[in-house]
């Protein structure tokens, strides 16, 4: 992915050097653009439509045929949803859970990956096998027994219940462990000879070298936790523990919140991930390319 990006940068647009990428016939190229632009419209239209409509009043939304632009771009839908329908609480819960779970994920996944990558100990391969196996066991399949464990540990209806159980991501351990295997052992040995403790070596030498996979895992974790639905749905039982997606789904189906507010809060739920994507796009693409993980 990176090689591709640099290649296209160094080469002036419109020149075709490699025989593998022979210039396609003009009609083929026009067709390519036509298809890509048409598909882009299919992808973007619903999102743009949602953003535009999130500024409309209820009366404007009910209008037939609908207007494209709202009468004004005032933020009343946003502020009223936050205040009247307590979306500020749900937003706060979502932020707390996303940040908390991501920090916890980074801490325990990096340490676990380091243990698995750089030490020889009894049971190491078994634990790595368990890690690989758990990648294939999504929450959806073990919903009931996990819920029972959470209930026994008094994690139901608490934000801790949303932070702790999903924090140990097998994909994160795998991603970081594969990367750490590439760090030379000599570095660690040298630090040991200098008298550094094991945890200090991890914190001062290994972590700074793992910037790229840590960035990838951070992005993934934020997207996962921010958009999570099924687990929060069964854990957050009282309204004051709802996260944004749970609140949106529950209130939309019960028709208690006017749809213009639902739309505004939908846009709020889109913003953070889109911003993170735009800022760290290159890492995401590289992360997917190198791991094939979601």
């Amino acid at each position: 992915m990176t090689a591709q990006a640099t290649r296209s940068k160094t080469r002036p647009a419109g020149t075709w050097t490699s025989t593998g990428d022979r210039r396609p016939p003009a009609t083929g190229k026009v067709l390519t653009y036509a298809v890509l632009i048409a598909l882009s419209i299919v992808v973007l239209a619903p999102v743009v439509w949602t953003v535009l409509s999130s500024f409309k009043t209820q009366a404007e939304l009910a209008q037939r045929p609908p207007t494209i632009l709202p009468d004004s771009f005032g933020l009343t839908n946003y502020t009223e949803a936050m205040q009247t329908f307590r979306f500020a609480t749900y937003l706060k819960n979502s932020v707390v859970v996303t940040v908390g779970a991501t920090v916890l994920t980074l801490m325990i996944n990096t340490t676990a990956a380091y243990g698995l990558a750089k030490y020889n100990f009894r049971g190491r391969n078994f634990l790595f096998l368990v890690t690989l196996g758990t990648i294939m066991i999504p929450l959806q399949i073990i919903l009931i027994p996990v819920y029972q464990v959470a209930s026994d540990l008094h994690l139901v209806n608490s934000l801790w219940g949303l932070i702790i159980p999903p924090a140990a991501t097998p994909t994160g351990v795998f991603l970081l462990r594969q990367y750490m295997l590439g760090i030379p052992d000599d570095l660690i040995e040298a630090a040991r000879i200098d008298g550094a403790g094991e945890f200090r070596i991890f914190l001062r030498i290994i972590v700074p070298l793992c910037g790229a996979p840590i960035a990838v895992l951070t992005i993934f974790s934020v997207i996962w936790r921010w958009n999570d639905f099924l687990w929060p749905l069964i854990i957050s039982q009282s309204q004051d523990k709802y996260t944004l997606p749970v609140a949106l789904a529950q209130f939309d189906s019960q028709l208690v919140v006017p749809f213009n507010y639902i739309l505004a809060m939908s846009v709020v739920s889109m913003l953070p991930v889109i911003i993170i994507f735009l800022v760290l796009q290159r890492h995401i693409v590289r992360g997917i390319a190198s791991t094939g993980l979601k």
Binding site: D21, V42, L61, G115, Y119, V149, L248, F259, I262, I288
Partner: protein
């Protein structure tokens, strides 16, 4: 990078001359790895490994209220077999998963082929197609449910404008399933396209050059060079999309709610409803999830075997 590093008998600190590891490695270095992996492995054990095993156990009990458990052996499974709702959910899941895997694999290969050319704005197109992957499935379902609303939705407004009538997208069961599959494609195609693109870039261009010298058309090159060399990547996409297809739940919840009359209720929703909506039947729901687990596990294994044989042939 090796997946399984052979566990070395001697630690790197021992100079390989046969000193037993325990004596040369200081105590803190022997203890450290266990402390490093402990927090993560503890959560694995408590929230993934134990529940996975316990799931089989729960499926042998009946709990009509969610509090008391009564051992019933295989009766939950025989109840599933007789349960029309279960078969409806199983059929809907199978239909959805098959359509989703086939369409998303084909579409992502097609889209990746388009994006792999030297075209202007390629990075922009890629970002656009990736956008839906970032969105909350709840919000995706919500938006599309609103767009496909019969009376005031954007889809029917456009159709009405060009005189094509106003289909009841989410009211007719076949149309509702079509919409569900379409929305799943809309959401995921960008993700799988990224994987295919990475695979395409791993193909050595000399193969294409050789084929071109032999006078192969671009279609022939696609069939005989690209597709076979892309097989390992395609397998990843098929397996990942299959697992995703069998787990589909959240966007459907806000898109159709599983309706009309259960037409788009898939297995995960069936499990959820029996476990968390009254009457609470943990055992029955667990039996359903054991069936789902075995299906996914079996199909993944089959996929590996098939591709292994193909690759060996």
């Amino acid at each position: 990078m090796t997946l399984f590093a052979r566990r070395e008998r001697r630690s790197p600190t021992a100079n390989g001359r046969g000193a037993p590891r325990r004596r040369t490695v200081p105590r803190n270095q022997r203890l450290a790895p266990y402390l490093f992996v402990l927090p993560n492995m503890l959560i694995f054990a408590v929230f993934i490994v134990y529940p996975t095993i316990n799931n089989f156990n729960i499926s042998a009990y009946d709990s009509n209220n969610g509090r008391t458990f009564r051992y019933v052996g295989g009766r939950n499974y025989s109840e599933l077999v007789d349960n029309a709702e279960f078969w409806a959910a199983a059929r809907a899941t199978a239909l959805f998963a098959v359509c989703f895997v086939v369409l998303v694999t084909a579409a992502s290969i097609g889209l990746a082929m388009l994006l792999d050319q030297r075209i202007r704005g390629r990075g922009l197109f890629r970002a656009v197609f990736f956008l839906p992957v970032l969105l909350s499935p709840v919000v995706v379902g919500l938006i599309w449910g609103w767009i496909f609303d019969r009376n005031n939705g954007l889809a029917n407004t456009v159709l009405r404008g060009v005189g094509l009538g106003e289909p009841g997208w989410l009211i007719n069961d076949k149309l509702a399933m079509t919409v569900v599959i379409f929305v799943a494609l809309w959401t995921h195609v960008g993700f799988y396209t990224m994987i295919i693109l990475a695979g395409l870039q791993g193909i050595d261009p000399t193969y294409h050059e050789a084929a071109m010298i032999d006078g192969a058309s671009s279609w022939q090159r696609f069939r005989s060079v690209t597709l076979p060399l892309l097989r390992p990547t395609t397998m990843v996409v098929v397996i990942l999309s299959m697992i995703a297809g069998f787990q589909a739940f959240d966007f459907i919840w806000t898109l159709t709610g599983g309706g009309p009359v259960g037409a788009t209720t898939l297995m995960v929703q069936y499990i959820y409803q029996h476990a968390f909506e009254s009457p609470i039947r943990y055992g029955l729901a667990s039996a359903g999830s054991v069936v789902l687990f075995c299906t996914i596990f079996g199909l993944t294994a089959l996929n590996f075997l098939y591709n292994h044989r193909k690759a060996a042939a």
